[in-house]
């Protein structure tokens, strides 16, 4: 009997221990706020001198090969200079970048610094209360080193929420040799829409696939709307007006780009298996010299130029069809790094971000990954490719605007991606696409009143765009 009682008591003790061990998980804070929380960053933190670890979750190897090498080298340099700090930099995968962070943010445990695709893809987490504004740690003078047009992408409610990690000028690489084979001028790529369509015809006639790209994974949708969706806009607020519901996406200003995209499909500008290939697989056709053009980001175009030769690889802007002030706008958006609101080392995180904008470190990133840090202290004489030099020249000649970084994410996932796939597959007309895009926008406003409020606070000072 006593043995039995002892055994039962033992079970009770085990159960109590389990309860107390799990009790912390059951007492997690409630769901994170969906409105901008009072930032914890306003509390001044004394820099720590005790050893600690700074965790950085980053991305970028996929579009700027060598980024991982850069981070390893930069982190080692930082740790050598700051022996009491261990920096744990973890490269993330594309598909898990946001889910992993959102799960970490839910648990209030995770990185001190998080990588985001820029614009609204950064600000959404600011709206969720997951970020601390960098403007609480960097001075206005420091922030002014970053070009205004790129700072604007994460400037919201009077604060700066993200720091550019690197810029991803997004253009078209073209093969000069293939252009010459098709009877096209290799030094003068198409500038107008008709020229582009005619170039597709010439390349097809020469047995060359004009554009190599992939749309199975959907990423191309956001690129296409950003290449050609803004060409009838006169200001950023034209887009914001549509987000707020003041304008309809079925109006020609917003809808024409679907028809222009259809032009490219109908004229067989894309590779025949575009719907079978993921974006990176399709882009690889250019590198394999199976396509004459591809869409790509600045760091990778530089890689292509180095690999295939300056005489072979050229860079071109998206040809123009539109009539708005932004018809020749170029996209040089930035990928950002931001300090998390739950980081216990915000001051140190801000210092690490400051380190990444140091002259020698910016030069190291360019050398290792071909990626350019958007910072006035980045020296143009470091450029070692024609494409980088050309992009740098264009930044002073054309307006900067990247559509994808300003609209609600659902406009892309259910709009530019889903509707774009149906358009390319021939299952939807441009008019139907525009109508359904408007329905998606209406649905989003109905389901996300809080997001709509946040967009009304996304006021960009006109001087940021030279207006």
């Amino acid at each position: 009997m006593n043995k039995k009682l002892l055994f039962v008591l033992s079970l009770l003790i085990m159960a109590s221990m389990m309860l107390s061990a799990c009790g912390g998980a059951a007492q997690q804070p409630a769901a994170q706020t969906e409105a901008p929380a009072a930032t914890e960053a306003s509390e001044v933190q004394e820099p720590a001198s005790e050893p600690f670890t700074l965790t950085v979750w980053y991305w970028g190897e996929q579009e700027a090969p060598g980024m991982q090498d850069f981070m390893e080298a930069a982190v080692q340099t930082y740790m050598d200079e700051n022996p009491h700090i261990t920096v744990n930099a973890v490269l993330q995968e594309s598909d898990s970048l946001y889910p992993a962070f959102r799960a970490a943010a839910e648990a209030k445990e995770g990185p001190d610094i998080q990588f985001f695709w820029g614009g609204v893809f950064t600000l959404e987490d600011a709206w969720l209360g997951n970020l601390a504004p960098i403007s609480d740690y960097w001075s206005a003078e420091e922030l002014e080193n970053i070009p205004a047009g790129q700072r604007a992408e994460t400037f919201w409610d009077g604060k700066q929420w993200g720091v550019p990690f690197y810029q991803i000028g997004t253009f078209w690489a073209y093969n000069k040799t293939m252009f010459a084979q098709a009877g096209l001028d290799p030094e003068n790529p198409p500038q107008t829409w008709d020229e582009w369509l005619n170039a597709c015809d010439s390349l097809r006639a020469a047995g060359i696939t004009p554009i190599g790209t992939g749309f199975k994974d959907g990423w191309l949708g956001g690129w296409m709307v950003s290449y050609i969706g803004q060409q009838n806009f006169n200001s950023i607020d034209d887009l914001m007006a549509a987000v707020r519901g003041e304008k309809s996406l079925t109006e020609p200003m917003y809808a024409e780009w679907w028809a222009r995209w259809k032009d490219l499909v109908d004229r067989k500008c894309f590779n025949d298996d575009i719907m079978s290939l993921d974006l990176y697989q399709g882009q690889a056709l250019f590198e394999q010299e199976q396509a004459a053009m591809t869409n790509h980001v600045q760091p990778y175009i530089a890689v292509l130029e180095r690999k295939m030769g300056k005489d072979v690889v050229g860079i071109m802007r998206t040809p123009v069809y539109g009539t708005g002030k932004y018809n020749n706008a170029i996209g040089i958006p930035v990928q950002t790094l931001a300090i998390t609101s739950f980081s216990p080392h915000k001051e140190e995180a801000a210092e690490f971000l400051r380190f990444l904008h140091r002259e020698d470190i910016m030069k190291l990133m360019y050398e290792k990954a071909g990626a350019v840090t958007p910072d006035s202290r980045f020296k143009p004489e470091w450029f070692n490719t024609n494409s980088d030099t050309a992009i740098n020249k264009w930044t002073s000649e054309y307006p900067l605007f990247w559509y994808q970084y300003y609209y609600p994410p659902i406009w892309e996932s259910e709009g530019a991606i889903a509707l774009g796939q149906l358009l390319v597959a021939g299952e939807l007309t441009p008019e139907e696409a525009a109508t359904r895009w408007q329905e998606i926008a209406d649905k989003n406003r109905r389901e996300n009143p809080q997001q709509l409020d946040n967009y009304t606070k996304w006021v960009l000072p006109p001087e940021m765009f030279g207006e």
Binding site: L11, A15, Q32, M275, S413, Q421, A425, E427, E447
Partner: protein, 292 residues
Amino acid sequence: MHRSFQSKLTAYLYLSPALILITLVFVYPVFDLIRRSLSRVVDGETIWTGLVAYQNALRDPIFWTSFSNNLRLFISIPILVLLSLVFSSLIFERVHGWRIYRSLVFIPYVLAIPVVGIVFSYILQANGVFNQILRATGLDSLTREWLGSSATAIWSIMFVVIWKELGFGIVLFLARMSSISEELYDAAKLDGAGWWQQMAYVTIPQMTTVIEFYIIVNMITMLSWVFSYVLVMTKGGPGNSTWVLEYFIYQKAFPYSQMQIASAAAVLLLSFALLLMFLQARLRPKAEGLEG
């Protein structure tokens, strides 16, 4: 009476660690899910919103696209049962090399879904192996953009699911067949029953419980275990044509940051699964009556 109470108490005390674990891992999350679906946090305050999230989920056309895709995937269940019966019967006949076949058919089941998804993504490309075989055999007219067309994408995913899940059914049925009494087959042979009649009147009735179990497992799979196939192979495309409920919940929760709607959809999925289980439980006494 005292001893009866004491013995019951002892029993519950022995069960308590497992009950606590189940409560924490299953029961608490479900209640939390329901709570999240009925409220929103704004500026640190939890606001009761009632059924708004459910209304938004049910009004979303993509929710119904997702639900209908899960129902489409249910079509694979009779196919899986039929193929499992056929293949397990053939292996049960102890054809030459039957042990090797038994191992080979189970290999797809143990492979990781992402691996299977990636491999079939390549096989089913427009210029992939499958279409190349079709072209090489003069069947060009049958080539398709298997994962790139909204008409074929969900069925292509279903094919891959069947390919992967079939092995489990074969091995399961084979195990049950091995335990059926030989006397039943001897008696059937004495009565002049051929192979098909033995299958119809001896084998299948004796396997009713196992078949029912396999059906339930596959219903759960098609409802809540196909997310990885969709994410790896199509990401819900083309044109949202391969969204399933799990993918809907994932998209709402993470890319869209609409946790409330995601929670509501998850509750609806759970409710549907419980309804299916209830219906299955009601039918079970009838099924058990058939098995000797």
